[in-house]
Symmetry: C2
Subunit: 444 residues, 2 copies
């Protein structure tokens, strides 16, 4: 088909070149592998939900939804539909819709595109992939799942080229109990103000707290709590030292201590109790998570989540859950643009099988078939150009090996075009070096 | 969050249960593996294109497009955007936009959701996944790629539980040359009528041809050509026997003979020269493909494509291409609903590690970590219920093994809950039977 001549990027809708997409695929493969090793079942939900369900979530979500509409719709019989802006709302609906056909506790992972109609800015996208895990149960959810979530993420991140990272954990009950213990009753407003700490700093936060009705002493105490952080259990004593007691605070400290203790055992140095972490969303009721890459704290959290007592409810049954979500497109995009991550080649092919002349293309094709039968990705040269040109074809794509049928005495030869070394080889037995079998993720 | 109580499926937007999704994932994994073995680079494009680009394709595509719109848009500065209805239009745009950064011939695969605002009916979806491969070049595209496409698909299908299948191939130049050779000048209209043969049969097609201006003899010849089919090169003689000669016809017969000869060599019995295959889309100019599962011809083509002389053009440079596309959601949905395909379990976990009591959960967790370190997907029991209940937990999900820490003399034991056999085992060395490591695709 012919295409209009104007082709331009659309702001907020990122696209990768092939080598960058190979980096993203590596990330997708690793998170999937780790999620499956931990027994999370794969799930996909449709991209659309009724608009009323998307907007029902509260907060300012209504600012972010894309509605969809059949351009040729000749009637209004279609319900108003919108693209999902996260994977939690559709998962909650899926659980309600299929409750009778799922086994609880239900562990699922879900890796899909989501869409948000926000104003695009650097590192903020209107279309991006999220990778979520959640555990949901009926009525009650065992607390050990709250310790499990960040440790699954820690295992995935350890296998990824993201460098050092910290998963910050808090428990909503700690600030809630603490605020009540010092006589603050509007917990939600106080949390929302504390959530701005990273952006505006403690001075302005104290002012906002006082504006919202807190005394100077209360504001000082709120900031003191937010400054508590430890990679071990010492945060408990640090909170006690502030002299505030409340049953909800004690519950929260016990719960967070269990999560941090599991982290100390299984991923030393990765989990940090950080009592500043609030998470903006109202529905978290227990542990909350944020994740920062060391040295790239300005990127903000790359993986967040928490526990919600009521992920879904049909009026009779309540489904509590806990989940965590990797902002995958954003993470990969930042690593590609800021740290120069790329792939060692722009194609899966490890070998280019050269073609001596068009009449012998079938010979080259048979070599390729023999290599593929043993799991070696390869490509047959597109034309029987002179060998120098065929080698350049491989070189431009980063394909490490070029195969020359009939080049040896009574057999083929293969050339490592990086070293120039060329040796006799048989397609039925040649071993591709394991590190060359797949494109590797590299930094320049 | 709380959810509105009404949860209903949306017609045309299919969702799978976990075991069904595992079937779909198996299909996705196999096609990806085969595409990568053949050196196709992975690519994803954004889900949206400018509406004018989507509608510019001609035909009745305008009936099928979903437009998107920010619900909270306070201005009209956003260009009109729509969801893509196939992967060819966005790929053509991507090639134009990135031509300077791609190496040609460019081989890519693309597996993504597409959306069509059609009236839903059985096996027709408004949201579904397509899996495409294409090769695109600058100016000229070598004809051997036209033989390669269906053979890549044949290799993927042979590895999938789809049973016997046939890939029907034709070349647009054959009917075009033949029609001109018998004096029919309106080739496009004639092709569109012949395309209805499967639906309405030869009688009504002859009538429509005559209505469109053909003589009875011309109509008879058109139907005679459409009835030619062979799994070898005999179709060439069968066409010659009809007594029509035209240079374009000869070109088409030579090209199709080359494709069928490659098929006879590489995938005997799979490729069928079928001169009835027309494909509705105007932009095909050479070989065209359709694929049918034997015994399920009523499902129609599950994988189609063809050659286009101008996949994309910026006015100065033309990019010819050839591609083929698997209608993956539709194929899997039909196999699941009509042939009962499902997965052997509803979770990736091969092992459930039992928990003796909550105090020893950490012991069970260490077993799980040891198994995962050797690539064995597993799950720790959600509660320290009595073992009968923990075994039922595994059984309901189809998890084949339950691991009992400390059950043996000085060690652990593992039970195959299908046979009941329970043996001593060490998490550092136990071998999971390879056939149990991943969920298998099975028929009841």
């Amino acid at each position: 088909m012919s295409a209009p001549t104007k082709v331009t990027p659309i702001s907020g809708f990122p696209e990768f070149l092939p080598a960058e997409r190979l980096v993203e695929l590596h990330f997708l493969d690793v998170v999937r592998e780790v999620f499956e090793l931990h027994g999370f079942a794969p799930l996909e939900t449709r991209a659309v939900e009724p608009v009323e369900r998307l907007l029902g979530k509260g907060g300012d979500a209504d600012k972010e939804v894309y509605g969809i509409r059949r351009l040729a719709a000749d009637d209004d019989r279609d319900a108003a539909l919108g693209l999902h802006f996260d994977l939690t709302v559709p998962f909650a609906r899926y659980v309600l819709e299929n409750a009778g056909r799922l086994d609880f506790p239900f562990r699922r992972y879900q890796v899909q595109k989501v869409w948000r109609g926000e104003r695009p800015q650097e590192g903020r996208f209107r279309e991006f992939t999220q990778a979520d895990i959640d555990v949901v149960d009926v009525g009650e959810l065992a607390p050990h799942f709250e310790a499990e979530m960040p440790l699954v993420i820690a295992e995935a991140f350890r296998r990824l080229p993201v460098g050092e990272f910290r998963i910050q954990v808090n428990n909503r009950k700690i600030p809630e109990g603490f605020y009540r213990g010092i006589g603050i009753s509007d917990v939600a407003t106080t949390l929302r103000i504390v959530d701005k700490l990273d952006k505006v700093g403690p001075g302005p936060v104290a002012e906002m707290l006082i504006e919202s009705g807190a005394s100077e002493d209360q504001a000082r105490q709120v900031l003191a709590l937010a400054s508590v952080s430890s990679t071990d259990l010492s945060f408990v004593d640090a909170v006690h030292a502030l002299g505030v007691r409340h049953p909800t605070l004690d519950e929260g400290l016990d719960a967070l201590a269990a999560v941090v203790a599991a982290g100390m055992e299984q991923a030393p140095g990765v989990l940090v109790a950080d009592l500043r972490v609030a998470r903006g969303l109202d529905y978290y009721t227990g542990t909350v998570y944020e994740t920062q890459l060391v040295g790239a704290e300005a990127w903000g959290s790359v993986c967040s989540g928490g526990r919600y007592d009521s992920l879904a409810s049909d009026g009779r049954t309540t489904y509590p859950g806990v989940g965590i979500s990797i902002g995958l497109t954003r993470l990969v995009h930042l690593l590609v643009t800021k740290r120069g991550l790329t792939a060692s080649r722009s194609t899966p092919a490890a070998v280019l099988v050269a073609v001596v002349d068009e009449a012998s293309r079938e010979t080259s094709r048979r070599v390729a078939t023999a290599l593929r039968a043993r799991g070696i990705p390869c490509e047959v040269a597109p034309s029987a150009a002179r060998f120098g040109k065929q080698i350049r074809y491989a070189d431009r794509r980063g394909i490490p090996f070029v195969w020359f049928p009939g080049a040896g005495e009574g057999g083929d030869q293969v050339k490592d075009i990086r070293s120039g070394e060329q040796v006799d080889a048989d397609a039925a037995t040649w071993q591709c070096p394991p590190e060359d079998l797949r494109p590797a993720v590299v930094t320049p």
